[in-house]
Amino acid sequence: MLYDALIGPFTEFEFMRRALAAVIALALAGAPIGVFLMLRRMSLVGDAMAHAILPGAAVGFLLSGLNLFAMTAGGLIAGFAVAILAGVVARSTGLKEDASLATFYLASLALGVTIVSIKGTNIDLLHVLFGNILAMDDQTLLVVAFNATVTLLVLAVIYRPLVIESVDPLFLRTVSRAGGPAHLAFLALVVINLVNGFQALGTLLAVGLMILPAGIARFWSRDLTAMICIAVVAAAISGYAGLVLSFQTRVPSGPAIILVATVIYVVSVLFGRVGGIVRQLFPGRHLEA
């Protein structure tokens, strides 16, 4: 009975196995990126970037139909252009990164909508907006796995400068020039993972599998390594449970995954060891020293 509900769908149907593989790949790469987004106070930057990607994907769709490579390429180009331009403008003029990014993603969004309306085709962008993790073919799955691998490798390379720049940017500037390149590489990783996520979850929810697990991790640990591990596990569990929920009910897979993550998040806010609400209300007697 329990087996039928929790494991059965995956042994029985290939599309469920593909979906599970995809969601685990997304969790492995996206969650660490989400932790850094949160710690660098860039949580909403991820959201803005998701909007910047949308028009690129739409252009790809217009040019070659529902071809995931074209849409991915379009999304990557739009996302990179916005991320890098915003980063360069922020670094060279002293304009704050969020203000600079807001300008560029709005411009990108407006441009995309303009292109779509000039073309005038009646296209169904529902797939782009909400994704469909249950319709993964081999190629798409390989793209997702490839992107996840690249993300983890690049993250390993830029890990130290990224951490130091997050804590003490001035110090990094005095000892090394790696700060700027590391930041740009990080923005590129954000874009890659958003594009990766939108095949499974759609543009609007892709950022959810990055930010929600990071938020969850923040309530359970004060240590960066532990936070990253917790975020990955939380993302993978959300993905798995979301797929099961989606299979057993009629909830679409993308929203189901994010809803499960939201439930875990709420539980963490209430009962988390680090700053959870219950812990704050009943902290126990103060210590001796």
Binding site: R160, S166, T174
Partner: protein, 251 residues
């Protein structure tokens, strides 16, 4: 052999000078106090030395040193204290020059980090997140990192601000130890008593240099009065500075 050369250097922001036409040199191994009222350009000068501010004019030479041979302790470090990093890891970043992107932190390096933490009196704090430290403890942590950087030129911007007497005494002892090891130390300071008692050389700055030399000769009431009278405000309609033309004509 000088550790630092200033060639008619002007540093500032948006074309407005904050340090105006400073020339001179700091001998290797010198212990120099930089004093002056708020807005005199002390921090600007130090930022120029460590290379995070480019001179508007003139140049600063580090006497053959690499930028990585310079350790800098900024006045209000832009440190994100909420970032989940332990005292041990944070101090460990001082080993950047040796480890860079991928260098391992071996047993010897761990020993160094632990000794640095111990020598600022923070034994037992290794695993504490930096967010839980008090202001004075954080300043000790920053000194421990400077210690690990093992730099031949050490630049401290008002290192004893809002620090209690005990911590100040401990950290001042470290500064003197660096001096005894032959390192060049520049510190922006406000405590005249400390400058008089512990620093052999003093630069009085008030936008331009007021006086520079042995502390006993320089730290006079007259010089301090001149520094105090410095006009702080920028003049938005100021004309381009002509002093360069004058000095080049003289040459």
């Amino acid at each position: 052999m000088a550790a630092l050369h200033f060639h008619n250097v002007t540093l500032g922001y948006d074309r407005h000078p904050a340090v105006h036409h400073l020339s001179g040199e700091v001998a290797r191994g010198a212990l120099v106090a930089v004093i002056g009222p708020n807005g005199a350009g002390k921090s600007t000068l130090l930022r120029g030395i460590v290379g995070i501010l480019k001179p508007l004019d003139g140049s600063i030479h580090l006497g053959g040193l690499d930028a990585r041979d310079v350790a800098y302790l900024p006045q209000s470090a832009e440190i994100d204290r909420s970032f989940p990093i332990s005292v041990f890891d944070f101090v460990g970043t001082g080993l950047w020059r040796a480890t860079s992107l991928f260098g391992g932190i071996g047993k010897a390096a761990r020993g160094k980090i632990l000794r640095a933490i111990a020598s600022v009196g923070l034994n037992g704090f290794e695993n504490r997140p930096i967010g839980t430290l008090s202001g004075g403890q954080m300043q000790r942590v920053l000194f421990a990192r400077v210690l690990l950087q093992d730099a031949s030129l050490i630049v401290l911007d008002e290192p004893f601000n809002a620090i209690d007497a005990k911590t100040t005494a401990d950290l001042l002892a470290l500064v003197k130890q660096w001096h005894n090891e032959g390192r060049t130390v520049l510190a922006a300071l406000h405590d005249m008593e400390m400058v008089r008692n512990h620093f052999s050389e003093t630069l009085v700055l008030a936008r331009g240099p007021v006086a520079w030399g042995p502390t006993a000769d320089v730290l006079t009431p007259e010089n301090l009065l001149v520094a105090m009278r410095m006009c702080e405000a920028f003049d938005d309609s100021a004309a381009a500075c002509a002093a360069d033309d004058i000095s080049s004509r003289a040459a």
